[in-house]
């Protein structure tokens, strides 16, 4: 055991030297762009996001690190003493299956949708009742068993027109008559500009995304703005690891691939030597942008590096960095193999 540890340390030292070289090169081309906010308004992402193979890729990329998924939650719930049990193999297998199922429930990805259209559906006009009341009447249908989005909310304006309530009003009424935990009537100040920036500086990405999920509907323009700001700052700071094996990693990758910004993501994955994940992201890229050139060249899917190279030549926008990263990666692999051979020869095998 000790031997392997020392080996790892040794590798890491080589590893860092290249890394440092690479990173210094990047800093020069650091774009000080303000976090540009682009919401999915050109093409509807929902069918793409919910399609079968995109979902499988995203789930595979998210990865299930049980320590992170089942970590201690700070939700003021009473703690229960840990339970230690002797288990047979079947029981253990059963428990692992349950944990698997529970983690897939916890890692359920928030849906990625287009911005919602405003509702302008007039039900009836009665100009004769203008003057009866100088305020609006909001009627909510509280029939049991209706999901929040399908609940009928109707507004009678002072000028007598009866119209269907807008999304904001409907959400407010739902919160009044059917409050959902974690949601507030007024959106928390966290989402205002200055507070959002200093929370993001502290790196509380998952907290911001979770509270955005709890507070807003997934197709709320406010929600889309906040999530894109968070994804941009994650991309800028390259700390994808924070969101890894949380429910937001899938939408993050989807957002980056949708807006063709996966260079940094690919580089950081390459540095962590997660070739499989890089290949998945490139495949995701090809699924989303069906018109991309690298799709034409038929590269056999399980050769990850070739797939990556194909992507780099054809579609990538910042090719030098990616090529550099690939070379660094290949160097490291070659050195490691070379090192192994030396060790083997040293041991006289």
């Amino acid at each position: 055991m000790a031997a392997t540890v020392t080996l790892q340390v040794y590798f890491r030292s080589i590893f860092f030297t290249n890394n440092a070289v690479l990173r210094s090169f990047q800093r020069k081309s650091w774009r000080h762009c303000s976090t540009s906010v682009n919401i999915y308004n050109d093409r509807d992402p929902a069918p793409v996001f919910f399609s079968e193979n995109v979902q499988t890729i995203l789930k595979k990329i998210t990865g299930t690190d049980f320590n992170k998924v089942f970590r201690q939650r700070f939700d003021e719930k009473k703690l229960s003493p840990p339970e230690y049990k002797f288990m047979t193999d079947e029981e253990l297998k059963q428990k692992m299956k349950n944990a698997e199922r529970l983690s897939s429930k916890i890692l359920q990805m928030p849906p990625v949708l287009k911005e919602r259209q405003a509702i302008s559906n007039i039900l009836s006009r009665d100009p004769a009742i203008t003057g009866f009341e100088n305020c609006k009447f909001v009627f909510t249908d509280i029939t049991y068993g209706l999901p929040d989005r399908k609940r009928l909310v109707v507004v009678r304006d002072p000028d007598g027109t009866l119209r269907q309530a807008s999304w904001e009003e409907a959400e407010r009424m739902n919160q009044i008559y059917n409050p959902r935990p974690g949601r507030k009537l007024k959106p928390p100040k966290l989402f205002q500009e200055e507070h959002l920036t200093n929370v993001l500086e502290r790196g509380e990405y998952e907290f911001v995304l979770d509270s955005a999920c709890a507070q807003f509907e997934p197709d709320d323009p406010e929600y889309l703005r906040i999530t894109s700001v968070v994804y941009e700052s994650v991309d800028k700071k390259r700390c994808y690891q924070l969101l890894h094996s949380t429910r937001h990693y899938g939408p993050l990758c989807f957002y980056l691939t949708w807006n063709k910004k996966i260079e940094n993501l690919l580089i950081s994955l390459l540095q962590q030597e997660k070739l499989e994940a890089c290949a998945d992201i490139v495949r995701l890229y090809q699924l989303i942008h069906t018109d991309c050139k690298s799709k034409m060249i038929n590269v056999d899917p399980n050769q990850h590096l070739e797939l990556l190279k194909a992507y780099v030549e054809h579609d990538s926008l910042q090719q030098q960095q990616l090529q550099l990263a690939i070379q660094a990666y290949q160097e490291i692999v070659r050195e490691r193999q070379q090192y192994n051979e030396n060790v083997k020869t040293a041991h006289g095998l």
């Binding site: 069918p47 919910f50 700070f74 003021e76 849906p111 928390p188 507070h195 907290f207 509270s211 999920c213």
Partner: protein, 205 residues
């Protein structure tokens, strides 16, 4: 009946705009209060002047300490020497009669801008500890690190008024995002947001 007479006399006198009422009802017993003579009142008014200076500075809490100084204080050396790395409420011994402490702590330690008790609660005793949503380091000491809940006053022994202030401050801090916690998990029902129509699947395979 007699009591009413006195009570009206009191309100009448207040009309004539003397700063302190000439006659004050001291106790409910009608007989004794009639003995209150004006001489006693006169000396009371004169005393008012000196009492002002005698206020004990350590117990005086009339000054309003801004939050910034409190935050600076918490990072300062003085704070570190007094409390070390322990939370503020650690070294405090609550005194109560009998073996079991009363369920609730006292209502407040500060009455009329003065510390009104010999053993003020951990926050009231230190003038520069201000409970405010920006003062995150202080708030963090009152939050359990196991499940993020606010520690109850039975553990931190702070008075009820301070506990209420603490709760308000923590909620505001969470609202502003200064204190992070785990938001309740939101389960999505995908069918509500997207109904996969047949032709969509063909598009993306």
């Amino acid at each position: 009946m007699f009591r009413r007479l006195l009570c009206t006399f009191n309100t009448l006198s207040s009309h004539t705009a003397t700063p302190t009422p000439l006659l004050r009802i001291i106790d409910a017993n009608p007989v004794r209060c009639s003995l209150v003579t004006s001489t006693r009142l006169r000396c009371k008014a004169s005393e008012e002047g000196e009492v002002q200076e005698e206020r004990d500075p350590t117990k005086d809490r009339s000054r309003v300490i801004p939050v910034e100084t409190s935050m600076k204080y918490i990072k300062s050396e003085a704070y570190h020497t007094t409390y070390g790395s322990d939370p503020v409420w650690k070294i405090y011994r609550r005194n109560f009669k009998g073996a079991f402490p009363p369920r609730k702590t006292r209502k407040t330690c500060i009455r009329a801008k003065m510390i009104a008790t010999g053993n003020p609660c951990p926050i009231c005793r230190d003038e520069y500890l201000v409970l405010d949503y920006r003062n995150v380091d202080l708030l963090k000491q009152f939050i359990s690190e196991h499940n993020g809940a606010i520690l109850s006053y039975s553990m931190t022994n702070i008075c009820q008024r301070r506990h209420k202030e603490l709760q308000v401050a923590v909620l505001k801090a969470r609202d502003y995002g200064l204190l992070t916690y785990d938001v309740p998990f939101r389960e999505y029902e995908y069918s509500e947001y997207y109904t996969p129509s047949k032709n969509d699947n063909k598009l993306t395979t």
